[in-house]
Amino acid sequence: MEFLNSFILITNYIIIPGLTYGSQLALGALGITIVYTVLRFSNFAHGEFMSFGTMSTILLTWALIDSNIKFGTFPTAIIVLPFSIIFTIIYCLLVDKFVFKFYRQQKSKSVIALIVSIGVMFFTGGLIRFIIGPGDKNFMDGERFILKAKDFKMLTGLDEGLTIKSTQGVTIILTILLVIILFWFLNKTKTGKSMRAYSDNQELALLSGINPERIVLITWIITGTLACVAGTLYGLDKSYKPFTYLHLVLPIFAAAIVGGVGNPIGAIIGGFVISFSELLITFAYKKFFFYILPDNFLPDGLLQILSTDYKIAVSFIILVLVLLIKPTGIYKGKIIE
């Protein structure tokens, strides 16, 4: 019984939030990794692309709610997701046509493209705040919970409650689906294979008749899709405010680098490593040990390694450690030049 309570406690406060946050980071890191391998630059604008996707979702959701179209207990935002994905892809392609294409044709160094992407980041951030405003936006409707803590306690008779929000469920399921589709596409389809060929050796791919503009188009379609889904899920689960997406770029990059840049599996692993280390290090273990230790062994303090104020520092520290010890990341990726 005591052991079960401590297990539920950890599940409620670490495992489920960690899986959710990790999934959101993993989707973001996948977008960065794919741009990096195919287009060969670190795309700092990715956080704002996520924000742009979320903004499209919010505007569409509001339009549907205003015209009184509802989907029962299911969040409207997920229904409109395909349409906002299209908007995000169009935006990515426009940015590519007017900005990145020029530097690609110039064969600019990747560091120049990186700086350009920072410019795109600020422009996109400004555009978003211009359209939707800088404030908090709520676009979650439908049923909030899959499992409520009170119901769980009643059902099992345990002291600790377990909450599963519907947004957490949706996030995890959607991430799994998207990742399966992505890997199938990269490994099984002809287009996916030509993409990988292009990223491995550009000249050789060109000689074998692969059309580079088509590869670039597909890359942005994938990136736009991942960005829009990751952004919407994050905004749905937490809250949408344009400025928070600016801060999200750091843990996402950390995830991509920790996992090994250029390696899709690495990006996913990296996302979960970052999310779980943030949670595990800032969690207070007092109650956990209260359940599993005998009374007289129980310490007085909260048993917290770092205060939650340092949460963002955790991803920084991991990033620095990985760059120092194993610059290629957990799964052997490329070294960012």
């Binding site: 670490i14 946050y21 409520k148 809250s239 205060s307 939650t308």
Partner: protein, 408 residues
Amino acid sequence: MKKNLLPVVLIAGLIVVGIFLYIQDSTKTDKVADKNIKIGIILGFTGPIESLAPVMAKSAELAIDEVNKSGELFDGSSQVTAVRADSTCVDAAAAQAAAERLITSDKINAIMGADCSGVTTAVLKNVAMPNGVLMISPSATSPALSTEPDNDLFFRTAPSDARQGEVIADLLMEKGFKSAALTHTNNDYGKGLAASIKKNYEAKGGKITITASHEDGKGDYSSEVAALAQASGDILIVAGYLDQGGKGIIQASLDADAFNKFFLPDGMIGDSLPKAIGPALNGSIGSVPGTDSPGNAKYAELAKAAGFESGPYGPESYDAAALIMLAMQAANSTDSNVFKDNIMDIANAPGEKIFPGELGKAIKLIKEGKDIDYVGATALELVGSGESAGSFAEILIDNQKTNKVGYR
């Protein structure tokens, strides 16, 4: 030769300045019952509270106009004028320069201001005290100002956050909350209020299980809530802002079923919060400065007649300006160092109660040698080193609205 010149010039300069200051000082003490009285209004007309400052200044000028119209002050020919200056609320250097200008070139007799705690402390320490000019702040609430050395030149018509801590501790104990988790926004307001709540609550036998700060403007507060939840407690005190981190903390606590009762200090009170959170917030309690005294309604009427709506810290500003003028009359002097001793007598019992709109009558009473008790727009009662005892309204969130259910 050249080397020796500089110290000589410096010393000569110092002597000249010294003589100048001495003469100025000696003229100051002669200022008994001047005909032209000037009150400096130093408020943050630009900066973070620029939306509040105009109403505050107008309120102070409302009291000044009232006294001028009554024609009672001193021999009746005295006129009070207001001189405005910008405190910026955040830039101490700019506020000091503004105050310096008012004192040296406008020759003001007293200051109504400043507003934010930081600049108020700077102006008091570096300008008002050295020049011997009295200050009454309508809105500086930092507990640190209570112990700041002031030569009895500093007063405030706003309650210290230390007082709110007391009120909150009382309320919590009365409602039977014996242990509480405490989270505060990571700035001077949040830290000061949290320290005061903790001190008072623990003195009354309550137990604060954890004090954790939170940053405003983040997307996700679930890990902050996780730490708070592990410490547990009967109630969560959220000393933050209602449209910032405070709201995020409450939402995340409800989602994780970590807490279901919340205490909301003044920064969290507003109808937008219960509207955003929904029925889950019903039954939570809070506190906000406020009074049900008739003075407040009278002030609001006067403000309307003068063409503006009452706003936050408007009543406090009216009271601050009124106190300055009444004390001058009571001391029969416009010298800060003289009438500073009369402020407490005027503000507190015994005596005839004075409400807004009765300043002329008050001056007449003082001239007749009668005692007055200035109640004003905020039911003013000065305690300690000269700060408002502070009336607080007790808030109960019910039916998705903030309701004032009592005063203390």
